[in-house]
């Protein structure tokens, strides 16, 4: 029965990881940037909503504030940091002058991660926090002999809804189509009237919005601290890779595999949950034939 319980918890945990991975996947798919600040940004969203809740706002209102705020932040980060970094990628090939070149976006995001992690530490200290959710955190639904947590179930539901919405947006709307066109060939997209820089910023805004939402859910279910962002980044990344870089539904499956590995690992040895997740990720890396070449966003 403990094993069954671990399995159910693992699948539910996968919802959280998939929600976290959504933005990472989207940013990479559209502009080939791996955002190393992804994890700490999720933690930032958790702190923001914690502060808002402590100010007396109901949690749902905190989410309503944080998500658009993160979208705006995403747009600004893309315009102010990532687009200039991307511009260097092209310069590198053209000019003889060597610099950070194609590494620039990665290095910029790492600099942001270091600065933001330590800024959060300075402001909020390294103590672990949790967003108070009243009864929600402990509420459970009986399922046979098991008790399924309401909060994890809610997180999984939100993850499925977000993934479905993002996929629909990419597949059905004219902006989503333009976003996929920019991912395919930014120059050709510009010839059809799409401003790639703006479209990149829209993609990052969307990614940050999902990330902000994910961060709040992390903050509700997990004890977090500024340094927790590192783990968030690794988990989101592992979900993407295990899922196979295809659609976001693959990422959901990847998140569930990772969640299962962690809960079953912890069932075997309480200290080894995270390690078991990492090992499953490495095993997937070994087993996949020909390695993994990143692909573009799919509708």
């Amino acid at each position: 029965m403990d094993w069954l319980n671990a399995g159910v918890q693992g699948v539910l945990l996968g919802g959280q990881y998939a929600l976290l991975a959504c933005g990472l996947s989207l940013i990479f798919g559209v502009m080939r940037i791996v955002n190393l600040a992804h994890g700490v940004l999720a933690v930032l969203a958790a702190y923001l909503s914690l502060v808002l809740v402590q100010q007396g706002l109901p949690l749902w209102l905190a989410i309503v504030v944080v998500v658009p705020l993160f979208a705006a932040l995403g747009y600004a980060v893309q315009r102010g940091l990532f687009n200039p970094a991307l511009a260097q990628v092209g310069q590198d090939a053209a000019g003889g002058a060597r610099g950070a070149g194609e590494l620039a976006p990665l290095l910029v995001s790492f600099g942001v991660a270091v600065a933001l992690t330590n800024l959060l530490q300075e402001v909020f200290s390294a103590d672990t926090r949790k967003i108070p959710t009243g009864d929600l955190a402990s509420a459970g639904l009986p399922l046979g002999d098991l008790s399924v947590g309401v909060l994890p179930l809610l997180t999984l539901g939100v993850a499925v809804a977000v993934i479905a919405a993002v996929q629909l947006f990419l597949a059905r709307t004219s902006t989503g189509r333009a976003m996929r066109a920019v991912a395919d060939d930014a120059g050709a997209a510009a010839m059809t009237g799409v401003d790639p820089k703006h479209m990149y910023a829209v993609a990052t805004a969307l990614a940050f919005a999902t990330l902000g939402l994910a961060g709040v859910f992390v903050g509700m279910s997990t004890q977090f601290s500024p340094g927790y962002g590192d783990l968030v980044l690794l988990f989101a990344f592992e979900a993407v890779i295990i899922g196979g870089l295809g659609s976001l539904w693959g990422t959901l499956a990847g998140g569930m595999v990772l969640g299962l590995a962690q809960t079953i690992g912890a069932q075997i040895d309480p200290q080894s949950g995270v390690l078991a997740g990492h090992l499953v990720f490495l095993a997937v890396l070994v087993v996949r034939p020909g390695g993994l070449m990143p692909r573009s966003v799919q509708a």
Binding site: A94, R180, A183, A190, M191, T192, G193, D195, P196, S296
Partner: protein, 240 residues
Amino acid sequence: MNVLDVSGLAVRYGDLTAVDGVSLSVAEGETLAVLGANGAGKSTLLAALAGMHLPASGTVLLDGAPVTRVPAHQRVRRGIALVPEGRRIFGSLTVEENLLMGRYPKRPGPWDLRAVYDMFPLVAEMRDRRGGVLSGGQQQAVAIGRALLANPRVLLLDEVSLGLAPTVVAQLYDAVRQITASGTTALVVEQDLDQALRVADRVQCLLGGRTVLEAPAAGLDRDTVADAYFGVSHHPPSPR
């Protein structure tokens, strides 16, 4: 009034001057063919007109208004649509989605999906296929359709014949002829002299980034063009 007026346009890549003071104009409803050998500066000229590469000097007027330094995505919205060299189809988008990208600027005009499908029935059959799996000729048709859907004031066509079988090229130029005959203003860059002469009202030859011949297409002597095309054989084009 001219739709497109270009004067003294110069485009450089680093130390290399690819287009060296070219002037041209295209009147409403007219089709101008720009001819020249490889490296004559034709594609660079079109890239500069479409805003993909900013010129070092010179001006580009669209309907009398300067667009010389307007970025590419805004130029399409003003009415300059390019069918680029290499076609640049979006590989992961379906054929219909590729065409719909042409509607992105939302310019009003005669061209809609149905008109393009009527022009290219084969494309209509493939509307749900991904752009990446099409043959070269099919991709070229999609690229032309995509540009038409922007309902441009002037259509720029870059080497439609490149890398395609002669029969396919002939079919594509049948379509281009229909398009230009229906009153669309066009600037065609081409190496294939015969096809270009089929659609053009006027011809302008480039060599080493400069204009070496301007003439009406009607009754144009093929040898005259060939001479201009290959340049003056007694001194080879300078590398600069």
